[in-house]
């Protein structure tokens, strides 16, 4: 009984977490946790929402922010009935659908690029247990370069990066399961001249 309930609550927490992501961060950087206090969280939220609203021309319908004990939730009226005449319901629906489809890591486009898992499997940093890893933090990689191996159904497939850049972090540990679309490696874009060097 107990573990089940704990699990449930954990999931409920996760759900709220993902609600938050799905609802809130389209364009603005996600507040870095932990948040020091409700006031600061609110400040952060509002600053970002202002940017969001200015960028999109339409206020969101609802925003909720929660961190530990702190929760901030904001809802806007349904634009269909409200004074926002410029946005059609269809456009809103489409926008929301886009948002929904964006995936688990649908974070604001930040400066980094990511190599993502093309499917469920086990991610390996190297081609064999005793081989050196394909890439290390700090390495410069080019588009098309192998950066790891994914094992699924006993089949090994090489994972290549679609963009070049500098490896900032290996996000998925070696020989661990990964889900579809999970971020594996973070890449920092490199200026063309630097890239050329």
């Amino acid at each position: 009984m107990k573990p089940e309930r704990a699990e449930w609550e954990r999931r409920a927490g996760e759900r709220r977490e993902s609600d938050r992501r799905a609802d809130g961060d389209v364009d603005a950087p996600r507040p870095v946790r932990p948040l020091p206090s409700g006031g600061v969280a609110l400040d952060e939220l509002c600053r970002n929402v202002v940017r969001l609203a200015q960028a999109t021309g339409a206020p969101p319908r609802r925003i909720r922010l929660q961190d530990g004990q702190t929760t901030v939730e904001v809802e806007w009226p349904d634009p269909v009935a409200g004074p926002v005449a410029s946005v059609s319901p269809a456009a809103l629906a489409a926008a929301a659908a886009d948002e929904r489809a964006a995936g688990p890591d649908a974070e604001a486009p930040d400066a980094l690029g990511y190599v993502r898992a093309p499917m469920v499997g086990t991610f390996y940093h190297a081609s064999a247990p005793d081989a050196p890893p394909f890439v290390r933090v700090g390495d410069l990689v080019e588009a098309g370069q192998p950066v790891g191996v994914l094992e699924a159904m006993k089949m090994m497939s090489t994972i290549t990066t679609q963009t070049g850049g500098r490896v900032v972090e290996i996000l998925a540990p070696n020989a661990q399961p990964v889900e579809f679309d999970q971020r594996l490696i973070a890449l920092e874009p490199v200026a063309a001249d630097e890239d050329a060097r």
Binding site: E4, E7, R11, A12, R15, S18, D19, A22, D78, V80, P89, A93, A96, A97, R100, A101, A102, G103, P104, M119, V120, G121, T122, A152, M153, M155, P177, E179, F180, D181, Q182
Partner: protein, 461 residues
């Protein structure tokens, strides 16, 4: 018993299966596409794995993704629900190769019954009545024409790999046969990747009656009574009930006995359904056999008290059935209505959208199976089933009144969202339905040919 089961499906049925697992003390793993990341079963399950993008070929139909998810999470068994991979013998075999129990019939049984032409032949051999028609698959339109002449028009052309109401065409005269053959063949090739067809006599004004069977690995084969699923629109079931109304005890017994005989003949294991066409003279002929849970299993559960999903799981774990045939009694009448997010005013076009309001009915003898909740976005990626409303009552009149009450209090609202609630209430009020004299022609689309080819497997049962 399994300690972890993976549910390889989505929507209401994924939740249904996860609920059964939870009640059995089994840890549940949900798998989900990107479109279903906030779905009810993802909330409910003990663990959830993101397996692919919204199109089901990369997620709910992706065998590698599902097997990997099962291996990652230590699932000992996979329940496939209905649709998707639920009747795929290859998937069942691959599960077995990886030491995972597929909760369903053995792969060879599915293989055999999945080929409708083979199934027809095997079942005829077991003494089940089949309609006059082809033995095995047809080889040419000419053969079809010759056979149709023998059998007599109208005839129905069906894809060998079809089922669930898709890949079929009624032919009313010799002049239409060649075209219908070509079109159905093309459709079958496009949808099932198998263009073989077979042919049967077509029965006008037929009823669709099906018998639920349960078979364990210890040799027990029982039935749980029958369902009438004659309220259909373009071969898609809309309203189902159990028991089938207006059958004489002799016909009822014969139907049930035929299903049990057929199941035993092929070595069936798990839950299956024998679908029959019932003529106006109450003669019945086997149509097809489903190797999976049906959408409408709820009505059988309500009248028998047997939890079919639970039995599927315990059968797969090697346990004997929880009931013997003599313990099964059918009490009262149960009806199920499928509430779809479709617009009856626009030819039942899907009407997806965000559910601003969603308050399902409740109270006495009402059961609702749904994955929807306020704030859930009904997406365009999958079928439009929003909720199954099932009711029980001591008799059919009370059950109809109760269903009408339940549908009347069902509140669904959201921008763009339309439902079949009103349409279903019209069907319930139809004099032919009220007097149980309706056939599959009730909704008025019986004579239409195959529906449009869509990516998703139709969820007829």
């Amino acid at each position: 018993m399994f300690s972890t089961v993976l549910v390889a499906n989505r929507g209401e049925i994924a939740l249904r299966v996860a609920r059964a697992c939870r009640e059995l003390g089994i840890r549940t793993v949900a798998v989900y596409s990107t479109a279903d990341r906030d779905s009810a079963v993802v909330r409910f399950a003990d663990q959830a794995v993101h397996i692919g993008p919204p199109p089901s070929r990369g997620s709910y139909l992706s065998v590698p993704a599902i097997i990997e998810a099962a291996l990652q999470t230590g699932a000992q068994a996979i329940h496939p629900g209905y649709g998707f991979l639920s009747e795929d013998p290859d998937f069942a075999e691959i599960c077995e190769m990886h030491g995972i129990v597929f909760i369903g019939p053995p792969a060879p049984v599915m293989q055999q019954l999945g080929d409708k032409a083979v199934a027809r032949t095997v079942m005829a051999g077991a003494g089940l009545p089949v309609l006059p028609g082809s033995i095995g698959a047809l080889t040419s339109a000419a053969e079809a024409k010759e056979l149709a002449r023998e059998v007599g028009y109208p005839v129905i052309l069906k894809a060998v790999a079809g089922g669930g109401g898709r890949g079929m065409a009624v032919v009313r005269g010799a002049d239409q046969l060649r075209l219908a053959y070509r079109e159905t063949q093309a459709h079958a090739r496009a949808v099932f990747g198998d263009d073989r067809l077979y042919l049967e006599r077509f029965v006008e004004d037929a009823r669709h009656v099906e018998v639920q069977v349960l078979c364990d690995t210890h040799g027990s084969v029982i039935h749980l009574g029958e369902r009438d699923c004659s309220v259909q629109r373009r071969h898609q079931k809309l309203i189902e009930e159990s028991p089938a109304p207006g059958l004489s005890p002799a016909v009822r017994d014969a139907l049930r006995a035929a299903a049990v005989r057929g199941a035993a003949a092929v070595g069936f294991v798990g839950a299956g359904t024998f679908e029959f066409v019932l003529t106006p003279e109450h003669e019945f002929y086997l149509m097809e056999i489903n190797c999976r849970l049906q959408v409408e299993h709820t009505v059988t559960e309500l009248v028998t008290g047997v939890d079919i999903v639970r039995e599927q799981i315990t059968i797969a774990a090697g346990l004997p059935l929880s009931v013997r045939q003599e313990d099964v009694t059918v009490r009262g009448v149960a009806i199920e209505c499928r509430v779809n997010a479709e617009d009856p005013e626009r030819d039942f076009a899907p009407a997806p959208g965000l559910l601003a309001e969603f308050v399902p009915p409740g109270g006495p003898f009402v059961r609702v199976d749904t994955h929807a909740f306020p704030g859930w976005r009904v997406g365009p990626d999958y079928d439009s089933l929003l909720a199954k409303t099932s009711v029980w009552a001591p008799d059919r009149d009370q059950a109809i009144a109760r269903m009408d009450r339940a549908l009347g209090e069902f509140q669904v609202a959201g921008s763009g969202v339309r439902t079949t609630l009103g349409f279903l209430r019209e069907m319930l009020a139809h004099p032919l339905f009220r007097t149980a004299r309706h056939t599959t022609g009730l909704v008025g689309s019986r004579h239409e040919a195959t529906g449009p080819a869509t990516e998703e497997p139709a969820r007829v049962g």
